[in-house]
């Protein structure tokens, strides 16, 4: 099954029109040539992929893929917690 990291790499590769093998877990956005508009596209696609909302201010501090994966894992954890709370 695809991990969160796999899904992030796939979304970034597809959105920025790069081959998947060019997008590595330790890549920075700068290395990938991702500019401010690419970032908007990536954030938009990631929000759809994971059904989450990524805060503008928090997104600004993310500069590489590791940080992006960690941030998304946090948001997913918060989401599953709120869903399980609703279930109780």
């Amino acid at each position: 099954m695809e991990t969160v990291q796999d899904r992030v790499l796939r979304v970034i590769a597809t959105t920025s029109r790069k081959p998947l093998e060019a997008v590595r877990p330790d890549s920075t956005f700068q290395e990938l040539g991702i500019d401010s508009l690419d970032r908007l596209n990536i954030l938009f696609e990631l929000e759809g992929e994971f059904d989450i909302e990524i805060n503008d201010e928090e997104a600004k501090s993310v500069t590489n893929i590791q940080q992006m994966v960690a941030g998304i894992e946090q948001l997913l954890a918060a989401k599953s917690k709120s869903i399980s709370l609703q279930a109780e």
């Binding site: 401010s36 908007l40 997104a59």
Partner: protein, 403 residues
């Protein structure tokens, strides 16, 4: 070349429904940014906007005309009516035949389109309102002004995002200066408070979560506004000959394109537009005492605009007063150039420079004298009004005080 006077101005925006209310708020440094009422703010990631409050169209326009006018066209016509009334222009058949009307709008009447499309997509309707096209076309404002006063010359609309109405005023200025038009009504209007448009701005991640704080270290983005603003331009000699009192002289116009990035501004492009406006005005940079900045309060604009001002003015930038009145009336997009041109003209006329409201603490990347929070009594000789659009399109107007 003949000199060109501004003999009338009209404005309706969040700060007020006419120029007196507009100027009172600017002079008081009072921001009109509040929680949105046109839409439910719960469905957005931001809640602040600068809306025109207490607006009853019937109080400004004949009720029978309203079905033909989208909100953006209403603002255009109301502002034009005020400007024409103040100018006291004496219409003759010859003047009407050649007069120009040049307006700017970024989104035009897309709000009217949205209303129709909503019915198609959500309510299974098969038709939209028959006036959808004439309501939503971006030139609706210009056409209604033309019809209202019987003006039959060059009438058209410029759409260059947030520079639209600065481009429109600049074009009109050149038409009047060259003699191509004996007078012109020029400005712009915008009514972006509808769900689809607001969602598109939300997705750009440039709209502030609290308020508009241009040049502050903790600025978090722009706040959308709505409104309309129009100027009456005529040859100075003709204005004086009929006993009109110019509000200011419009002396220069400069435009440029960054030609670099569709959304990220570049200081060189903005600097070239300012230089061209100053040169076109026949002024020396030291004669400019005030700049009404584009000052959107996005991270990129304010930093880039500061760099551009430093490129043009060098060390003199430290002695230049710069403010962003968007902190009070919001970012009115296609109307911004005209709203802020009028703020600049009134500042020259009153000898009072409007402040940058909501200012908290300085950003080292925006180290200009931004007139924080309180207006400053200061008579300057000449000023610039900056407009820089997405798409890298820059338009700068220069005005000179009329003694």
């Amino acid at each position: 070349m003949p000199r060109v006077a501004v003999t009338g101005v009209g404005v309706i925006c969040a700060l007020g429904h006419n120029q007196e209310a507009f100027w009172r708020a600017l002079a008081d440094g009072r921001s009109a940014i509040e929680t949105m009422t046109a839409v439910d703010p719960q469905q957005f990631r931001f809640s602040a906007a600068a809306e025109v409050r207490g607006f009853v169209p019937e109080e400004h326009l004949p009720p029978k005309d309203l079905p033909l006018l989208d909100r953006f066209a209403q603002f255009a016509l109301i502002a034009a009516n005020e400007a024409v009334a103040q100018s006291g222009i004496e219409w003759t058949p010859e003047l009407r035949e050649e007069a120009a009307v040049i307006t700017g709008s970024s989104m035009g009447g897309r709000g009217a389109e949205e209303a129709g499309y909503w019915e198609l997509f959500h309510n299974n309707r098969t038709r939209v309102h028959p006036l959808t096209i004439p309501l939503s076309m971006s030139n609706a404002g210009a056409s209604h002004i033309s019809m209202r006063y019987g003006l039959q010359g060059a009438v058209y609309t410029v759409s260059s995002a947030c520079s639209s109405s600065a481009h429109a005023i600049g074009q009109a200025f050149r038409q009047v200066r060259s003699g191509a038009a004996p007078m012109a009504i020029a400005g712009g209007s915008e009514a972006p408070m509808f769900i689809g448009g607001l969602k598109a701005w939300e997705a750009m991640r440039v709209v502030s979560k609290d308020t508009c704080r241009p040049f502050s270290a903790d600025r978090t983005g722009l706040v959308l506004g709505e409104g309309g603003a129009m100027l009456v331009l005529e040859p100075l000699d003709a204005a004086l000959a009929r006993g009109a009192k110019p509000l200011a002289e419009i002396v220069g116009f400069g435009m440029s394109s960054d030609a670099t990035h569709i959304t990220l501004p570049a200081p060189e492009g903005a600097a070239r537009a300012m230089r061209k406006a100053i040169a076109d005005a026949g002024l020396a940079p030291e004669q400019i005492g005030y700049i009404n900045a584009h000052g959107t309060a996005t991270e990129a604009n304010d930093r880039t605009e500061t760099a551009a001002i430093r490129l043009v003015f060098g060390d003199r930038a430290d002695r230049l007063a710069v403010s962003s009145t968007k902190s009070m009336h919001g970012h009115t997009l296609g109307a911004a150039g005209a709203v802020e041109a009028i703020a600049s003209i009134l500042a020259l006329g009153h000898g009072l420079l409007p402040p940058t409201a909501n200012f908290t603490r300085p950003d080292p990347n925006c180290d200009l004298d931004v007139i924080p929070n309180a207006a400053r009594p200061q008579q300057v000789e000449a000023c610039l009004s900056n407009s820089f659009a997405f798409g890298g399109l820059n338009a700068v107007l220069a005005f000179k005080a009329w003694p």
